[in-house]
């Protein structure tokens, strides 16, 4: 007999330590600088996703490591007593709710300027002032939300310092420089936003309009940079980079930022923010539509709601692909983390996600179908709607089908296992990917029908064009089904995901080619009759509300899993969470917290919407002011 020690020594290599580059000098100077910058940002309403500065509350391990091991930053080894408590306050729930509220508002205020910029550019190109007015109304809503975002960012910073000082200290040691740039970028964003908003009516016409649009571009560039910086801090906690085998951080800030999951999260959040922003302003327009007394007002807010929904759908379509890319990268980073995500304790979360995304797709489509009532020519397409609905609901049901069923022992015995003979395969990825792709395709088809509903093509090759569209969709869907069935039934688990890339490519090709073809077919087309903006049932507005509520709730849920897959680690495999709350909460518990957060967010959003309205209201205080007659 012999031990494994020899084998291990023979097999394992040795660790290498690198010198950290630190343009800000010693750790204490860097900490102080970071703290000053962030405190300054907070005073001015800075927002931050994660801790941005160091405090002198760092435990011996961190500070000690910085002093005695200049080559790196060690994560402290904490015990439950290292986490300050406040009687009657749950630390984790507090940070969770504040962080989530901050994120919801941040997503909103980062997204709105993106499509405001695009709408303004469309207005400039078409010289249609309605676009300019709508863009202004959108930015007006977000300007109040911007302050709230900053306040919530400050609150998050405060709650991290209070409840998780050692984590805060560790992250600020790692990210000192980026905190500094974050604060600078925040000032730049504030300046650009205020110029953009307050200068809207001043910078009109000719060169001034170009200047205004350029400010919008700067605003978006800085806003996106801010998000990328904060994403670096968040993703470092998930997939830390610059860590040597001993768990010591020995890289520089860029190494920490440019970690494995940074770009996947950047892409996913960028797209999701746009869809989310669209859904929130859609809810705003829906409420104004329902409250509107005059037909012109209803027409205006109907148009606004339509555009908001269009933005939300446009971003929603590629979102599953970005989500898939993120999940694949999580697997690539750590198979263990990937399995925890999709096949472990969080597996059932994806059934909840299916319900929510199904809700999003159904409500967005339903709104489009209701919107076809604005057109007198829509009757030609009404007959197809039921088939679209069947395809989307059918896909939703496949996506919703879990692989493992919840069964009693008797049922298990009768079934011969936890997998249903016919339904089981519907629960695995090839079937779900197929369902999602078909859902996306039929949503694109809904949009195509909506676009066509009020127009009559005049080109000579209409029939050939329609036949080509039909062939495109038919062969495309057949390909999706073939890929799904082949990889679902005839390959082993490791290769089942291989269906996803060709399926995504099939879907994208169909969408791009069919929209291009349709644009050519309807070039120079005839309008059936002017669109009747405002001629849409009230229930369509509830679809917009549902879109906003489901999106908010879904973001909260996915925030839980993004953070939850770290399990009992503050920083995966590096910095262990030793707090009493280190355990992973159940899905039900998380859903309750997300629901509370969603309600709080909705209350705050209503407040923001109300604020944006009262700025234009005037009260006739006749007789109140000396020498003023009023009226």
């Amino acid at each position: 007999m012999k031990g494994v020690g020899d084998s291990k020594r023979m097999i394992n290599g040795h660790m290498l330590y690198c010198n950290a580059k630190n343009p800000f000098g010693s750790s204490s100077v860097r900490s102080l600088l970071g703290f000053m910058v962030l405190a300054f940002a907070m005073v001015l309403g800075g927002s931050t996703d994660l801790p941005a500065a160091a405090v002198d509350a760092a435990p011996g391990a961190v500070q000690g490591a910085a002093d005695t091991v200049p080559s790196g930053i060690s994560a402290p080894d904490l015990t439950a007593t290292d986490y300050p408590t406040v009687p009657g306050v749950n630390s984790r729930v507090t940070v969770w709710l504040v962080a989530q509220l901050h994120l919801w508002f941040a997503a909103f205020v980062l997204a709105v300027p993106i499509f405001v910029f695009i709408i303004e550019a469309i207005g400039m190109k078409t010289r249609d002032q309605r676009y300019d007015d709508m863009a202004y109304e959108f930015i007006k809503i977000s300007i109040t939300a911007y302050s709230l975002t900053a306040i919530l960012g400050g609150l998050l910073l405060f709650s991290l310092i209070v409840f998780y000082p050692h984590l805060f200290s560790y992250l600020s040691e790692v990210f000192g420089e980026s905190m500094f740039y974050y604060a600078l970028a925040f000032f730049a964003e504030s300046a650009a936003l205020y110029l953009y908003y307050y200068g809207w009516h001043w910078l009109q016409g000719g060169f001034r309009k170009w200047l205004h649009l350029s400010i919008g571009l700067v605003l978006n560039a800085v806003g996106t940079t801010l998000m990328f910086l904060a994403n670096g801090w968040v993703t470092f906690m998930m997939s830390p980079a610059g860590i040597d085998p001993a768990g010591v951080f020995s890289g520089d800030t860029w190494v920490a930022m440019h970690n494995y999951l940074w770009n996947p999260i950047n892409l996913h959040r960028f797209i999701a923010n746009i869809a989310y922003g669209g859904s929130i302003v859609g809810a705003y327009a829906a409420f104004r539509f329902l409250s509107a007394g005059r037909p012109e007002e209803r027409a205006h807010y109907d148009w606004m709601g339509y555009n908001a929904n269009f933005i939300a759908i446009l971003a929603l379509l590629p979102l599953p692909f970005a989500g898939y890319y993120l999940a694949a990268e999580i697997y690539a980073y750590s198979q263990q983390m990937g399995i925890t995500l999709m096949g472990g304790i969080f597996a059932w979360l994806f059934i909840i996600q299916a319900v929510l995304i199904g809700t999003l797709f159904l409500s967005a489509n339903y709104y489009l179908w209701c919107g076809m009532g604005r057109s007198d020519g829509a009757a030609r397409y009404n007959g197809y709607i039921k088939y679209l609905a069947i395809a989307i609901i059918g896909s939703f049901l496949v996506w919703f089908t879990p692989h493992t069923l919840v069964l009693t022992n008797e049922e298990l015995k009768a079934l011969g296992g936890p997998y249903h003979k016919y339904l089981g395969p519907l629960g695995i990825m090839p079937a779900k990917n197929t369902a999602v792709n078909i859902m996306i395709l039929f949503t694109a088809l809904s949009f195509l029908f909506y676009r066509r509903s009020n127009r009559i093509a005049t080109v000579t090759w209409v029939n050939a064009g329609n036949a080509a569209q039909l062939a495109l969709y038919t062969t495309g869907i057949a390909n999706l089904l073939f890929l799904g069935i082949y990889h679902g039934y005839f390959t082993n688990t490791v290769y089942k995901v291989a269906a996803s890339i060709p399926q995504v490519m099939t879907t994208l090709i169909i969408i791009v080619v069919s929209i291009t073809l349709d644009s050519l077919m309807y070039r120079g087309s005839r309008e059936v009759a002017p669109l009747n903006w405002g001629r849409v049932p009230n229930r369509a507005q509830y679809a917009l509300f549902l879109l906003a509520v489901a999106f908010t709730w879904l973001m909260g849920l996915m925030g839980y899993i993004r953070s939850g897959i770290r399990q009992h680690w503050h920083v995966t495999d590096v910095f262990r969470d030793a707090s009493p709350d280190a355990y992973t909460p159940t899905l039900g518990y998380a859903a309750n917290i997300v629901s509370i957060g969603t309600i709080l967010f909705m209350v705050l959003v209503i407040f923001v919407f109300w604020l944006s309205q009262i700025s234009s209201r005037r009260t006739d205080a006749r007789g109140y002011w000396k020498g003023v007659q009023g009226g």
Binding site: V4, G343, S595
Partner: protein
């Protein structure tokens, strides 16, 4: 105000539906609590307990069953790993440096790319790179002793001889798993105490004294090596001495502590 109320009620109902579905529409799975560090007294652990420890690590802290299961097909099943380990050494695809089955198992844990079972390599690597995470670092973080325990479990699982010895020079090891309950008695300090405790001389003669039901051990060290002696105590049925009935109890593996086993084996080896 009417619309505001309607919209509010509608939104609350939807939020309630999502929360209700999450609470009652799917099974409630309580994630396992974070692993708690426990101290193990290896010297007071029997080989069977060591194997049980390996099994718990295999199913728990080691997270081996996340992939090595018959559900997902993400990694090869390990029921026969102890058997095939020896065969792998002569496989042309084998890239490692192990010289026997135990070293191969250790290597497959510590450097899994040395041999990747066909069909289980990282995508695009042509089965040259294993997707298996490090078991000694990060969130798994098995110690050297824990790796030994897992190997012992794999050998036991495959029904082959457990060749791993419990490292007795390490008195205290830290394990994240649920440690098996250590036997309540105090470990014996000398070979004489062990021989008395387990009543060896009831059947065996030592230094001219004792029973004759089993072979005479008075000069056993001159003809048998340490490995044979360990095996004979832990698995007496593995090799029955000529002319003697197979009556030695097979239960010592579950009773004798690793430290005690070493004391006894060293003592027997010294009898020449």
């Amino acid at each position: 105000m009417k619309h505001f109320l309607k919209v509010t009620i509608f939104s609350l109902l939807m939020i309630g539906f999502f929360a209700g579905f999450s609470n009652y529409g799917i099974p409630e799975i309580k994630p396992a609590p974070p692993p708690v560090e426990e101290k193990l007294d290896l010297g007071a652990m029997t080989p069977e307990q060591f194997i049980v420890l390996g099994e718990k690590l295999f199913n728990g802290k080691g997270t081996c069953t996340l992939c090595h299961n018959d559900v997902g097909g993400r990694a090869p099943l390990l029921e026969r790993a102890g058997v095939v380990a020896g065969e792998r050494l002569s496989d042309t695809r084998y890239q490692g440096r192990a010289t026997d089955a135990q070293e191969y198992l250790a290597e497959s844990l510590l450097e899994p790319s040395a041999y990747v079972v066909a069909g289980f390599g990282k995508a695009g690597s042509g089965d040259a790179v294993s997707p298996m995470p490090s078991v000694t670092a990060g969130s798994i973080g098995l110690s050297e002793v824990e790796v030994s325990a897992v190997i012992a479990y794999l050998q036991d699982l495959a029904g082959v001889e457990v060749t791993v010895e419990i490292p007795t020079d390490v008195q205290t090891q830290v394990s994240d798993s649920d440690a098996p309950d250590a036997a309540p008695r105090v470990a014996l300090a000398s070979a004489d105490e062990v021989i008395t405790k387990f009543s060896c001389v009831t059947c065996h003669k030592m230094s001219g004294e004792g029973g004759e039901l089993g072979p005479d051990l008075s000069r056993i060290g001159a003809t048998r090596d340490l490995a044979y002696l360990r095996r004979a105590i832990l698995d007496p049925a593995a090799e029955i001495a000529d002319g003697y009935p197979p009556i030695m109890p097979p239960t010592y593996a579950g009773e004798i502590y690793a430290g005690e086993l070493e004391l006894l084996v060293q003592y027997l080896a010294s009898l020449r």
